[in-house]
Homo-oligomer: 249 residues x 2
DNA sequence: CGATCGCTTGATGTTGATCAAGTGCGGTGG
DNA sequence: CCACCGCACTTGATCAACATCAAGCGATCG
């Protein structure tokens, strides 16, 4: 981790509030408490581990910029990516109550993250019990996404899997204002996407081509455009219920 | 749900305490609070839904006897089972903070379950903040199991998938005293196992035969014996870290 | 300006799906 | 107590989706 500590920022807390507010209604009092939560900013290069399996972190990280992934390796060395996280997410919030990491978390693009000390979070939650519920709810939505991904990988073919993942990313990124006209930055290689949905990288390439041919996606190097939202939703059997957003899209 | 309400029981609360205590150290005070939690017992036949996608339950259910599964259907009608739950588990604890069910839960054998009203749970948690942490932790372990299952389905072949699932069930059942000499009741059809690990029922049958041939399992109608625990663990790449048990097996 | 990385393309191989026809066990009813 | 029925499981044959291997291409970056 090539970390360059910065000074505490305004916008980190604001982003956290914005994200939390999409899943749980926050009072002004609670927003104020969140604004006062100390956050230490760090920049991290692409492809670095933020935290590793087996570690016992005293902090959780808030993504401010870039994408990260949660992953595990099988004995044969194959990688499964269990989750992708985008700005506003706290990929290892679970470590607040699960001492030993059962996963690793890595950046898949250049990232800025903010570290939240567990002691600070716990103190805040003591004073504001509804914030406990809000953060608990956030971890429950993570679990809901895992469930949907199990359905995706277990039962759908590769075409639907890719379509579903793209639908989910659009909705999640839109919630934090990172989508313009059904287009967004997607700093993820086909190999990473392959490890995410359980197919080979070669087959991701072929599947992308099929989606392009059907007018469901248009891609440039790091950006993706979804010209036919209804068509993509249907292809991916996508229903955003499982994201539990307050203002359901 | 062919429900026949029974009188409040002693053992339901005791089972809940026993299970929680395997993942979180409980004080006598907290155990007392759990003993006082009202639990309404209900018997449910095989193959009935306990709660369905889209519902907004005011209660969660504690499994006392039998197995249940968490599932979703794909548009094509294929079923993915995302979780199996055994006595001591609370399969829909998430509904405490996620109003709308994003999954359905069904019995896969004759079950006795106990219903816990959300208001009662919340009141108990207010008075005993460490119990909030304990229950939160329980939902985090559910999420950890989802992650491991993603790795299982996404990266391992059918032989390893079955082996892994059997290893997990042994450990989880042992924690609640339902294993004798590496043998336990397994009231699950091969079709259900197929929907759990994302392969076809026919292939489950063949995989079982391969495991039998290698001396890793012996089965009767409803019971399974694991004669070569080390061998099975290796076949399933099983490491129980992700179950976050206090007395790691 | 070469090197590297990510993507593409084609050829071949394998796992596991699907279809279809049995088999055996347990439970049910006569 | 026995005969029957149904369901779970088994077995064999064929097929499809996707993996793997290998080579080439194009853009980005030092």
């Amino acid at each position: 981790m090539t970390a360059s500590p910065l000074s505490p920022s305004l916008s980190a807390n604001a982003l956290m509030i914005r994200k939390l507010d999409t899943i749980f209604p926050l009072s002004n009092d609670e927003k104020q408490a969140l604004m006062e939560l100390p956050i230490q900013l760090v920049k991290i290069d692409t492809g670095k581990d933020i935290v590793r399996l087996g570690e016992r972190p005293q902090q959780s990280c808030l993504i401010l910029k870039g994408f990260t992934c949660v992953y595990k390796l099988s004995v044969g060395g194959k990688r499964q990516i269990m989750a992708l996280h985008v700005p506003g997410d706290i990929p290892d919030l679970q470590s607040l109550h699960l001492e030993v990491m059962d996963i690793s978390i890595a950046t898949i693009s250049a990232c800025t993250v903010g570290f939240l000390q567990h002691v600070d979070i716990l103190r805040m939650c003591e004073r504001h019990p509804r914030l406990t519920a809000a953060l608990w709810r956030e971890t429950l939505i993570d679990a809901s996404i895992y469930r949907e991904w199990l359905l995706n990988i277990g039962q759908r073919d590769s075409y639907a899997r890719v379509a579903h993942l793209l639908c989910e990313l659009l909705i999640r990124l839109r919630a934090v204002g990172l989508v313009e006209n059904h287009a967004f930055d997607l700093p993820i290689t086909q190999e990473e996407m392959a490890d995410t949905i359980g197919i080979s990288a070669v087959h991701v390439s072929r599947t992308f081509q099929a989606l392009r041919a059907n007018g469901l996606i248009e891609t440039t190097r790091t950006r993706i455009y979804l010209p036919d939202w209804e068509g993509l939703k249907e292809a991916g059997e996508f229903d955003p219920l499982y994201l539990h957003l307050r203002n359901a899209p």
